[in-house]
């Protein structure tokens, strides 16, 4: 893992001798992703890697195409062009990637290593097999179901299998009871982690906003993802909640080894917890590197502040403004 302090601020090209985690051990590779809606090009020829075990932030001004990238990765949209490779197992797995691409397959598995081409998979398999989970900017809980049930739906496939397509569930087979108990325990574990255990039997729609956000993360984690995609998890949270979120994400990464890809406007969150930052503007990648590198990139500053010419950015106040964004949450980054 590359820590924020380790790399120099200038690394536009890969530094020799210091291969970065996302280049050598990516969990997800997005290659030449293009998404067009009619004449509108929302994402244009975008390539980036998400390192295994990293927290990767996807940032950019409004309308830069961040959510579109998420939608392509998680099967919400079928991308117009491009390849999205999801890997289970360390390293680049180049042999498997070539095999699956050339063979016209959706996925290939060899022992505990597997490669999935997400753009070829139907949406429910992306969660079930490729193990990519996501949350939404506008929260999408099953509002009429209880908090606990929301987490049980996320374990649908395990339970469906254990209940022999529900028949066993009706008859109360021991095998199903055991699976149901395990699912409930996992749900309780995540409810405790997200401090929602007291609300387990309330309808999800009755929770306050901050709790709903955490519930969405808990629900996504119940699918046991290898990659967790969070669309603006800190939006609408107060500074204290935002701090809690950081802690939760770091816990998820440390304890469960889940790689995290997040879209975020709160620069406090981004700069504090990200190992890797990818910056989009008008559907094109303009910077890619660790937090320090990106923060000082003139193109990024220009994109956020809307400056035509990069040279104009040599204003001390502006630079100072951006660098305060690196401080803990609670201070407005001034760039949202």
């Amino acid at each position: 893992m590359v820590s924020a302090s380790q790399s120099a601020a200038t690394a536009a090209a890969p530094m020799p001798g210091a291969p970065r985690n996302w280049d050598v051990n990516p969990v997800l590779t997005v290659e030449h992703l293009t998404m067009r809606f009619g004449g509108l090009v929302a994402v244009n020829d975008l390539s980036f890697n998400v390192g295994r075990g990293d927290i990767t932030a996807l940032i950019g001004p409004n309308g830069a195409g961040k959510t579109t990238v998420f939608n392509c990765v998680t099967g919400f949209y079928k991308p117009t062009e491009g390849r999205t490779v999801m890997r289970h197992g360390d390293g680049l797995l180049q042999d498997l990637v070539e095999e699956v691409t050339a063979g016209g397959l959706r996925s290939v598995q060899m022992g505990d290593r597997a490669v999935f081409l997400l753009e070829r998979m139907p949406d429910f398999e992306i969660s079930h097999h490729a193990r990519v989970a996501r949350t939404f900017q506008n929260i999408r809980l099953f509002g009429g179901m209880t908090v606990l049930e929301n987490l049980m739906v996320a374990q649908h496939n395990v339970l469906m299998k254990a209940s022999v397509f529900t028949i066993g569930g009706l008859l109360g087979l021991p095998r199903y009871r055991i699976a149901e108990k395990a699912a409930r325990e996992k749900a309780v574990y995540w409810l405790e982690r997200t401090r929602l255990i007291d609300r387990a039997d309330d309808p999800a729609a009755d929770l306050p906003y901050g709790d709903q956000r955490r519930l969405e993360i808990a629900r996504a984690m119940c699918t046991e993802p290898h990659l967790l995609c969070l669309d603006e998890p800190a939006a609408g949270l107060n500074p204290r909640e935002s701090q809690e979120l950081n802690a939760l994400l770091q816990f998820i990464r440390a304890e469960h080894g889940t790689s995290i890809l997040l879209i975020e406007h709160d620069m406090g969150v981004v700069m504090e917890i990200s190992d890797h930052v990818v910056v989009l503007d008008y559907g094109v990648k303009i910077a890619d590197g660790d937090a320090d590198h990106v923060k000082n990139d003139p193109k990024v500053i220009a994109a956020y502040l809307g400056v035509e010419d990069e040279d104009e950015i040599d204003i001390p106040e502006v630079k100072k403004d951006l660098s305060t964004a690196g401080k803990p949450a609670g201070q407005d980054g001034g760039v949202a």
């Binding site: 919400f76 009429g144 179901m145 739906v153 209940s163 009706l170």
Partner: protein
């Protein structure tokens, strides 16, 4: 009093049949928001399958023990009718999912006509009678009215219908509330796309919803056959409209609502014919529907749609 109790029993019996069909309407509406107008005809197909199985068992194989015959007929009818329900969804509705709103409605009407005509052509347009199978009953009350003595009869047939419906309803409620499939169905009702992103196979869940609806309709079809002893290719239309009315009355999308609506429509019809005129029983049922919907637009047990802003 005795007369009232007798009508109550008759009404509950009829209402049970309506309720079983109504569940199919309400479930499909709940999950994909379309009115499956072919559902009444699935019920009709179910009763024809029951009839055919019954005749094959009694005449070809020479079965005589009635409970065994009925059990086999029930299972065969449920299996084959489910297959019909599944096929209708697969052929006529799934390709149009995501199309404009009226498209599935129009295909559903088309499917209804197809099924009716298919049965008419293959089975003939004439009534198909079977001799009454389950006779007798118990007298639970006796009394005297101005027209002479009256005995309240609860026939075995009525008992079977009410008990079967009760058992199915309990099983079904458990399925929806306690099993992963039921949870997936409820999740799909609220947000199909999100359910898919959590690994739920939405297409399969929808198919299974049609299968369950068809299975319940086939039970209703068998009961109708045994209760009235005569079926034809057109019974699906009126029964379908009545059951649809029941689903709307109870609050479309709500399972207990469908059952309650079914019972109410059955009771209204029977009481109206018992106390007023039999010719206007349908008018009575539909008028009550209209009145209820004026004051409770989302039905008796339906949840009003709250638009979140």
């Amino acid at each position: 009093m005795e007369y009232f109790v007798q009508q109550l029993i008759n009404g509950l019996t009829l209402g049970s049949i309506y309720g079983l069909i109504a569940i199919g309407y309400t479930m499909v509406y709940g999950i994909i928001g379309m009115i499956n107008f072919a559902h009444g005809d699935i019920f009709m197909v179910g009763s024809f399958i029951a009839l055919a199985t019954f005749l094959i068992l009694t005449t070809v194989f020479g079965f005589v023990f009635l409970p065994v015959i009925l059990l086999i007929v029930l299972i065969v009818a449920m299996l084959f009718t489910s297959a019909w329900g599944w096929t209708v969804e697969r052929l006529a509705y799934r390709p149009l999912r995501g199309s404009f709103r009226l498209a599935p409605l129009i295909t559903a009407i088309g499917m209804s006509i197809v099924l009716q005509n298919f049965v008419q052509v293959t089975q003939g347009a004439r009534n198909k009678p079977i001799p009454p199978q389950i006779q007798g009953g118990v007298t639970i009350m006796e009394g005297v009215t101005e027209n002479g003595p009256i005995a309240v009869q609860l026939s075995y047939m009525q008992m079977i219908i009410i008990v079967t419906t009760l058992v199915l309803m309990i099983g079904f409620t458990l399925l929806i509330n306690r099993t992963p499939l039921g949870r997936a169905q409820r999740a799909c009702e609220q947000d199909r796309k999100m359910a898919a992103l959590l690994g739920v196979n939405v297409d399969r869940t929808i198919s299974l919803t049609f299968v369950m609806g068809a299975a319940l309709a086939s039970v209703a079809g068998l009961m109708f056959l045994l209760l009235y002893g005569v079926i034809d290719f057109y019974i699906g239309f009126l029964a379908g409209v009545k059951a649809f009315t029941a689903a709307v009355l109870g609050g479309i999308g709500s399972l207990p609502g469908a059952m309650l609506g079914g019972l109410l429509i059955g009771l209204i019809e029977v009481f109206w014919s018992g106390y007023f005129t039999i010719e206007y029983k349908d008018v009575a049922a539909f008028s009550i529907l209209a009145i209820v919907l004026i004051f409770l637009p989302s039905g008796l047990l339906g949840k009003p749609e709250v638009e979140k802003v």
